[in-house]
Homo-oligomer: 197 residues x 2
DNA sequence: TAAGTATATTAACACTGTTAAAAATATAAT
DNA sequence: ATTATATTTTTAACAGTGTTAATATACTTA
């Protein structure tokens, strides 16, 4: 990597860092070009020397957050036995991560894809994120004849949709009112969907 | 109702009508005070004589759309037998309505409640919309011992979350790519959640 | 040091919601 | 009917948004 590339990457990093901080803190609605640039220590127009537009910048953050989320989930769930138990644990860790950073959830699932349509592969990446995280475990269930293909398929999709819905209603609508209530509902739903205890 | 009130209500109606047209057509992102007012045939500032702010106006539309949606669902499902079969039919009609008007779905579930927090009862109304539409049928299942209380509860919540999630991913993310594929997934999920065929 | 290039900043444009002052209209009283 | 008073509508303005073009600064090389 040439000096020029190193420096350019460093500059991009300053803006990405600033954006990530705002998203984790105040959330998506506090994101603005001037706001990001001020935190990065540059003028607002400088941003456009390193990113096509602000959506481009935000999208780079998505990739970072996904890595971060994946790392978090791995460390939270490594002690669980493989299969449905682990799928449940992964899902709970997934929910936990986004509850901790609602701004990141907004970014992942609420922000219209239309606005980011030029990055189709990344969009697919986001959409399949939970499924990807559980992929190994679903495969385990199939290999060990715990589930057949049709069962696994419907469980996987139902789990996926229910988790997205649960998070949007809790994060975006504050329903139910407390995290405790929310946890109880989630727990019983996971058991129901995954046919556990 | 006094003349003054009639006239005021009429004026509000013009703005509400204009807003509803835009929401059904171009969607939430095309909503702007100037855009609405132009369509209503008035200057942008006139809007503020009849609504506290644009969120107030939008919220009046929510109530209208809910009535419209409920009427649509009632007419689509009246021929179905009561119980789980009817719950499935109601849910499918619910999905059908929002697929037809994605802009209204945005408004219902994606628009942050925070921005409309001053109308808490209405927010609860929206959140419980699907559950309210099915309430009678859930009661039927309990009365006829088709389900016990715990079963009904978890089914109801899972159904609710899964439907919200399914719609957000299909409408906001265009995943899966076709309505046909989407319908198949929805069908199998409804059967799984409601423990049907 | 001077010229040329790359980068950063300011100024400007078109948009957003909202408010205060100005203009137009309708109502009331003489 | 004409004047005076309310009421309602519009225009102008403000503070914000993303983005671009022109200007100013810093750096590199001759």
């Amino acid at each position: 990597m040439s000096n020029k590339e190193i420096q350019e990457q460093r500059m991009k990093g300053y803006f990405i860092q600033a954006t990530k901080e705002i998203l984790k803190g105040e959330g998506l609605k506090s994101i603005s070009v001037r706001n990001i640039s001020e935190r990065a220590g540059y003028s607002y127009a400088t941003l456009y020397n390193y990113f096509k537009d602000v959506k481009d910048l935000i999208f780079e953050c998505v990739v970072d957050f996904q890595d971060e989320c994946e790392t978090f989930i791995k460390s939270e769930t490594k002690k669980y036995e493989p299969g449905l138990i682990k799928i449940k644990a992964i899902t709970k860790a997934y929910i936990k991560y986004f509850i901790q950073y609602p701004g990141i959830y907004e970014l992942f699932y609420i922000e219209k894809t239309t606005d980011l349509a030029h990055k189709q592969p990344t969009v697919k990446l986001i959409h399949n994120f939970l499924n990807k995280l559980c992929e190994e475990e679903w495969q385990y269930c199939l290999n060990n004849k715990i589930l057949n293909s049709a069962e696994a398929s419907v469980m996987k999709e139902t789990l996926h949709y229910a988790v997205i819905g649960a998070l949007i209603i809790y994060i975006n609508r504050r329903q139910p009112a407390t995290y405790k209530e929310f946890s109880i509902i989630v727990e019983s739903q996971l058991n129901y969907i995954l046919n556990l205890a």
